[in-house]
Symmetry: C2
Subunit: 177 residues, 2 copies
């Protein structure tokens, strides 16, 4: 099944810049079979995990995260770029290739000891995901697992998360092919 999911992801060479093989999940999401396969697979994996909320990272993480939250019958919490959330937030900075960026979560988005699923479409170097895990830990959430549709293992992000003790699950992996 994951082979079918993988085939529905479009690869765009040299985007956003020369040398990058961009994995475009929009072709997976627009396909009713592909989108259903993704959500069915995640639902089967987490239906017994007593998830309290799904947390999605802006903005493609909203697409996967919201759909799996709906299927699990739980609430959805966004982690957004700095300055986008209107109420009291906590923030975490992380390194980019050039410079730094910051993500935020509402302070009251998660209750202490809630079990959450952290969702994004793709993990590359893992900077954003690690910052998101820090935010969730600062809110004293239990992170059930960090879920991605695509892992780019050569960029090391999923290993970094595992090394820090976070569970990681990805549906498909691209190894530079």
């Amino acid at each position: 099944m994951n082979k079918i999911i993988k085939q529905k992801i479009r690869t765009i060479p040299n985007w956003p810049k020369q040398g990058v093989m961009y994995r475009d999940v929009t072709t997976l999401f627009k396909d009713r079979i592909g989108f259903k396969m993704v959500i069915d697979t995640l639902f089967d994996r987490y239906r017994e995990s007593s998830i309290d909320s799904v947390v999605g990272i802006e903005s493609r993480g909203f697409i996967v995260g919201s759909a799996i939250a709906e299927r699990l019958g739980v609430g959805f919490v966004p982690i957004r770029k700095s300055g986008k959330l209107p109420a009291e937030t906590i923030g975490e900075e992380y390194e980019l290739e050039y410079g730094r960026d910051k993500i935020e979560i509402h302070k009251d988005a998660i209750s202490e000891k809630d079990t959450v699923l952290l969702v994004d479409d793709l993990i590359a170097t893992g900077g954003t995901a690690l910052a998101a895990c820090s935010l969730l830990e600062r809110l004293k959430a239990q992170i059930s697992e960090c879920v991605f549709i695509v892992d780019l293992p050569t960029l090391g992000g999923s290993k970094k998360l595992s090394d820090k003790g976070f569970g990681v699950f990805s549906l498909v992996s691209f190894d530079g092919e």
Copy 2:
């Protein structure tokens, strides 16, 4: 039921600037009951409408749009800010209070004559929604309806859409209270 949905939306006065009453739907989404009510209501309304895809506007429109697409068993298509979509796009500019902005959709995201639901969290002056409708018309989609959780009717956007012949449906309305 819509009264309960409305109560779960948080109002933040003077954000992002003095004089604005910001309607924060994150408190609705994080609430499992509220989130389910939203999706149940939309599902009941559109289950018989032969929707081919749900189109969501970046980025809170992704949250509602993806969940209703999942429930309807159809694909999800994002409309994004300029420069974010990696393959061939068409774009549409629209007026902001100061200056202009641009949204884009992948050219191959929708097939001709597909029936689509256009989804965003909120309609205010309607600039983005009208631009999104233009994009969908240029792709020759049939717009079943434009769906919002919140309408701010005093800002005129929903009337503008209706006047142009687009169906509009909102779950709740805030009239400056």
